[in-house]
């Protein structure tokens, strides 16, 4: 018996593709010069966000409130892709 039914597997595949597209867009649009100029904590939090899209954990890594981290994403030209 398969672990997941076909439609569930198809949905997982669709989400995998969406996440791949989102990651590529975040990487492509990001202002890497700005990101590399930041203090380590902010820099690594932005890189974590670019790879995962997980804004809450990235904000906590940065030591910022959620809204302040969203503003940092704008300054770093990292888009939220949804």
């Amino acid at each position: 018996m398969p672990l997941f039914d076909v439609s569930y597997a198809e949905k997982l595949k669709k989400w995998e593709e969406l996440e791949r597209e989102a990651r590529e867009l975040r990487r492509r649009f990001a202002d890497w010069g700005f990101i590399e100029s930041l203090p380590p904590r902010l820099r690594e939090a932005l890189k974590y966000y670019i790879e995962t899209g997980d804004i809450r954990r990235a904000a906590r890594l940065a030591g910022l409130e959620l809204e302040d981290f969203r503003e940092l994403l704008r300054r770093a030209n990292v888009p939220v892709v949804v």
């Binding site: 569930y8 949905k11 997982l12 989400w15 995998e16 969406l18 996440e19 597209e21 989102a22 867009l25 649009f29 995962t52 899209g53 997980d54 804004i55 809450r56 954990r57 409130e65 959620l66 809204e67 302040d68 969203r70 503003e71 994403l73 704008r74 030209n77 990292v78 888009p79 939220v80 892709v81 949804v82």
Partner: protein, 186 residues
């Protein structure tokens, strides 16, 4: 025309607060804001917008019950067992619970919440609208005038104001709908 009830999470609200057409949201919905979401909003401009809309009755406060928080925690746990799923946190999970129990439209930009509702069969009836669907609806209902010379314009304005990007395939589908339904193209 009567408006639907919706419930919004934090990232959705802080992005809409920056959009030039932010008040158009209330042409479609009366929007509940969970207390757990309100606690995350900090900036003066966003708080000012939320306060003015609470005063006008376009926004309403949603106070979570213990039972709703318990169900939300179960959603958080289940989302962590789903492969490669961004975490669903308490504010989004509360919105999903309100979507299931009360039929509110869930307004979110959280990929974890979107994926959870699509994969969890017992939540498949929950309706989620991202900004893309809202901007499309606003144009289809003529609250936001489409530009048939540039049918992507209204979506691009939102992207510019908020530094949000819509997935390209979804955006193309939305623009095709505008062309077909509003601009007389076949």
């Amino acid at each position: 025309m009567s408006r639907s009830f919706a419930i919004a999470d934090t990232c959705f609200l802080i992005d809409w607060a920056r959009y030039r057409g932010r008040d158009l949201l209330f042409k479609l919905y009366i929007v509940y804001v969970p207390e757990s979401v309100l606690r995350e909003v900090k900036s003066e401009s966003t708080i000012a917008w939320i306060a003015s809309k609470l005063a006008s009755g376009d926004l309403a406060l949603f106070t979570e019950t213990e039972s709703e928080v318990e169900e939300a925690r179960s959603i958080m746990e289940r989302s962590r067992r789903m492969p490669n799923t961004p975490a669903v946190d308490l504010p989004e999970a509360i919105c999903i619970v309100a979507g299931r129990r009360r039929g509110y439209v869930v307004l979110t930009e959280n990929r974890g919440a979107l994926k959870f509702v699509e994969l969890a069969e017992d939540y498949s009836g929950v309706i989620i609208h991202r900004s893309l669907e809202i901007l499309l609806q606003l144009q289809l209902k003529r609250y936001l005038e489409p530009d048939c010379g540039d049918p992507a314009l209204r979506f691009r304005e939102y992207e510019e104001d908020t530094k949000h990007l819509f997935p390209r395939k979804d955006l193309l589908n939305a623009v095709a709908t505008i062309r077909r339904e509003l601009c007389g193209e076949t």
